[in-house]
Structures are given as structure tokens and as C-alpha cells.
Symmetry: C2
DNA sequence: TTAAAATTTGACCATGCGGTCAGTAATTCA
DNA sequence: TGAATTACTGACCGCATGGTCAAATTTTAA
């Protein structure tokens, strides 16, 4: 199927059915991982939950590893798209930064399953045989870069003090991910609303110019 | 062995050999998980790396789940002990807070394997059959509580402004964990020293009283 | 020294896994 | 309409896993 090389070395345009099935399988797999854990998310279990035969998964995906990569891509792309849309509503960098942080949390709150599955998938190591891709690691670079650009324009416009771009971007993402992790590990251990408010304050406070008074 | 109930309902004091073997097995398992991933860390592989027979693990641990719990306990206890020792050197709460953050990162830097394994283990879900313990979630409560106490005394002494204790403790731990996570996922994507410095500044800045000038 | 207890071995087992495949059904399209 | 392509089924395979156990070995203690 997908692995067949076309004469013009172009990928065959996927059928309507194929796209729908792949979506269904990925979504079912995410739900399965979130509820039962990755170790219990066998192809048989995913197929059972989806109401299809196990062979269908093998038919549409070139092995379980390929399925997992598509799941991971989905888990990272969906929140990224949502956040980007929210950020694009804002004009000024500081407001964009706030929107970035808040949109992350908003998506988080409405898609807890996604993050439970993501935390589960973090533990994966690429197949030693497959030459060891670095999908996991590289997948986080775009959001760091996106954040750094927001910071950069903020600095240019004087809304943000002269922080180191990459490090600060990592730091902001780290705070978001850290709160997310605690919330995933124990939904009740954390007052999510309070944490969101505090982390947003902390971040905006950290990047605010020294001479600034009321910025938000 | 360990499951035998003693007449006086006290646990039998473990033999020297037993303690040593258990330590060895746990340490070898951590190394194996860190290097090959949990999915490849079979009892056979761990035994092979330790140079012992597979049955020894079954003899000393009541199933793989019990081994994993001991690994997890070890992964959480060791840094906690280290951090506590560093915090205890300091007298004033703000210095203790700095020590807490910095000691976390110091241990992190010298024990990357531990954290690689920990991230891998986060994805585990307790056995549905075993009544679903909440070890994972509860294991993080002590450090949050410990942090909250530091903050509390800092507020009392006026070194720290009146922040919400639990939420701020969660937030601080979240920032630490978030940086740790990025570093674990990709050692090279993050300038760890710069991140440590920034996150320490951000945290101390966040809790500093409004009227304070030079605090560190 | 020796009997009991603790420890280790390695072969063995049942189970569930990812993956394959011949055959069947559904869909597409000329 | 009918042949070709696409999609699906369910039985099957080889394999790695966690776990067991009788027998052998080492340690303990009387």
C-alpha cells in the first residue's frame, strides 16, 4: 500500500476510506493508551475497541512502530495548531506570549486523554535496528522555536526584556509541561486553574522589562 | 521468602545477601531501562546484565511489578535525600528554596540515567487486577509538601511574599521537572547550565516580596 | 562436622504479542 | 455489467515474555 513506490516517485493519493480508517485507528489507539496504558495497547486490543479486525491495522500501517509515530505526530500537531490559532489572534508580543501559555492550558484541559497518552509515549526508545530516529526529541523543537520568535519580537518592541531566546523558550515550555505532567499523574493533586494563573504570572513577570509597571 | 508472615507479624530482617542482591538488581534494572528502554528491560535482559540467572530476580522480588515499584521508590528517594541534605545546610528559607532548586539540578546532572528511566516509568499504569494502587501519584506528594513548608516559613519571616503554598510548590516542582524532561528527551537541545540559572532566577523572582531589592 | 536454611541454576511452561496470508467482501471504474 | 482494485477477515505462525520448579550449590548455625 503506502510502501509501494509509484513510478513517478510520488506517493499515491490516499483513498477516502484509507484516511478515515487511519484517523479512526489513531484516535482509538490514543484512547486505549490513555485508559489502559501503552503496555496494554496491543494491536488486538485497539482493533477490538475500534470494532475491526486486527489485520486492518496491519493493512493501513506498516507495523506498530509506524502507528506509534503517527499517534505521536497527532498528539503534538493538534495542540500546536490550536495554540497557533490563538496566538495569531493577538498582535502584540506580550499578549501573544500570554495567549501561547493560556492556549496550551486550555487545550490541555479539554484533552486530558491526549496528554496521558503522551506521557506514556515519552518512555519509548526508537528501535535500535531502525537506525535510531530522533523523532521524539526533534518533535519539540518547532514549539521552542515558535516561542523564541515571539520573545524576539517582544524584545524588539520593548515589551519584553532582553532574555536569552532559546533558554527562555525552553523554560516557558518546561513550566507548561511540568504543570501538565503533575496534572496527568494525579488529576486531583493540583488545582489546575490556580496553577495556570500562577504560571502565567510567573512567566510574564519573568520576561517583563525592569522599568515596566502594569503590563498585562 | 519475603512473603512469609512471621509469627510476631514483623517482617523478617533481610539477609546481607538479600539486601545486596536486591540493590544490585534494582541498579542493574535502572541502567537497563535507561539504555534500552522499559520495553526491552525484560527479566532475562536484566539478569544477563547482572550476570545472574533469571530465577534470582523472581526469588528476591514478588513479580516484575514489585521490582518496578522498588525501582520507582529508589528513583524518587535518592534525589529527595540528596536535596534534603543540601537544604538542611541553609538556615534562611529563601536560601533553602534556592538550595532546593539547585540541589535538584545538581543531582540531575550527575544521575541522568535515573531520570531517563524515570521518564520511561511515568507511562506505567497500575495493574487493573491489583486494585490500582496510586503509588505514582502519591510518591510526588512528599516533595510538594516539603517545598510548601519552606515557602511557609519564608512567608512568616518576610523573605517570601504571600504566595499560595500548594500551588506555588507545585509550580516550582513543575518548572524543575519540565526542564528535566527536555534534558532527558534531548540532552543537546538544552543548555542545562543556562536553564538552571534562568529557572532559579525566575522562581526566586516570583516569590520575592514586592518591596525587596537585592535578595540573593 | 553436619543438618537445616538460604540461594542459585537452567530447563520448562503458558500466554500474549506483532505480523502474515489466503480467502472473501466491498468498491471503483471502464 | 463485470473485471480490477481496494479493503477486510480470521486463522495461523514464530517468538519473547514473566513466571515456575526440582535439583544443585552455598551459607548459616548448632
Amino acid at each position: 500500500m503506502r510502501s509501494v513506490i509509484q513510478p513517478d516517485s510520488q506517493k499515491r493519493r490516499p483513498t477516502f476510506i484509507e484516511e478515515a480508517r487511519r484517523r479512526q485507528i489513531v484516535q482509538t489507539a490514543i484512547r486505549t493508551i490513555a485508559t489502559r496504558g501503552f503496555s496494554q495497547a496491543s494491536l488486538a486490543e485497539i482493533a477490538r475497541k475500534a470494532g475491526i479486525s486486527k489485520g486492518v491495522i496491519s493493512y493501513h500501517f506498516d507495523g506498530k512502530e509506524a502507528l506509534v509515530e503517527e499517534i505521536l505526530a497527532s498528539l503534538l500537531r493538534e495542540p500546536a495548531d490550536f495554540v497557533k490559532a490563538r496566538v495569531d489572534r493577538e498582535n502584540r508580543p506580550l499578549a501573544q506570549l500570554r495567549a501561547y501559555v493560556e492556549a496550551n492550558f486550555e487545550f490541555m484541559r479539554t484533552h486530558r486523554d491526549h496528554y496521558v497518552a503522551l506521557v506514556d509515549l515519552w518512555g519509548r526508545r526508537p528501535d535500535a535496528a531502525s537506525g535510531g530516529n530522533r523523532f521524539d526529541a526533534d518533535a519539540y523543537e518547532p514549539s521552542r522555536h515558535y516561542l523564541a520568535r515571539i520573545l524576539e519580537s517582544g524584545i524588539e518592541q520593548g515589551e519584553i526584556r532582553d532574555v536569552p531566546l532559546r533558554t527562555t523558550a525552553s523554560l516557558i515550555q518546561a513550566a507548561i509541561d511540568g504543570v501538565m505532567l503533575q496534572w496527568v499523574l494525579d488529576e486531583d493533586a493540583l488545582d489546575l486553574d490556580a496553577a495556570i494563573s500562577e504560571v502565567t504570572d510567573m512567566i510574564t513577570g519573568h520576561v517583563r522589562p525592569f522599568n515596566s509597571e502594569a503590563a498585562s
